[in-house]
């Protein structure tokens, strides 16, 4: 199980090699790539912040859940941090399974869970400003007492 939060570029070949198993006929890889636009605004680049030690723990938990849920061969989840340019990969998920249906389902589920649960944040930088993105897919809001609001 390859789990990593890193400032280095993410390499599909490495992740594929890490999950390939003699008994697994299907490998699916997902890459989240920095787009040049979001919600109608032109994006110049992104900056990712993370809580790396906790993020790796949460990634490992998600990976274990996926292995149980989808009877996977193996899986790899890598998240990049720091400044990323357009076209660079911020998230790489790779899974192997006996057959393709399980591999596609598991990869999709893993990406969904990463976006809900892993303490990583992106800032969009435009030509005329910047903003931290508060993920619409983040875990439901914590119950916060009225006194803190």
């Amino acid at each position: 199980m390859l789990i990593r939060v890193t400032e280095q570029p993410l390499k599909p070949d490495e992740a594929v090699a890490a999950v390939t198993r003699a008994e697994a006929g299907a490998v699916v890889v997902f890459l989240g790539v920095v787009r040049n636009n979001n919600l109608g605004r032109t994006v110049n680049h992104l900056v990712y912040d993370a809580y790396p030690s906790m993020a790796e723990k949460v990634l490992a938990t998600i990976a274990s859940e996926a292995r149980d849920r989808f009877s996977l061969g193996d899986c790899a989840i890598l998240h990049r941090t720091g400044r990323l340019e357009i076209g660079e990969a911020s998230l790489l998920v790779a899974v192997s399974a006996g057959h393709r249906v399980a591999a596609f389902e598991a990869a999709h589920w893993l990406v969904d869970e990463v976006k809900k649960r892993v303490p990583v944040w992106k800032k969009e930088v435009w030509s005329d400003g910047e903003s931290w993105i508060e993920g619409p897919e983040s875990l439901g809001l914590q119950q916060t007492p009225a006194s803190l609001r």
Binding site: G32, S138, L139
Partner: protein, 81 residues
Amino acid sequence: MPVTLLLFASIAEKAGRRRIEMDLRDGDTVHSVCERLLLDYPHLRPFFPRLMFAINEEYARDDALVPPGATLALIPPVSGG
């Protein structure tokens, strides 16, 4: 034994720091620690309705007890991927 608060992303930028040490009192919860934090950093209050918390790298509710020496992370809505 102090408690170490970790701040990230938007709230870290607003606070101007990523790490704050605070004293811990008997019976302190996430909530009570944060109330004391807001005495020194009142401009962080608007972030709280959307924050999640983690104690020692595990998500925790705001009524969770904070153990001595804990790391308490203030976690804005995540946006990885």
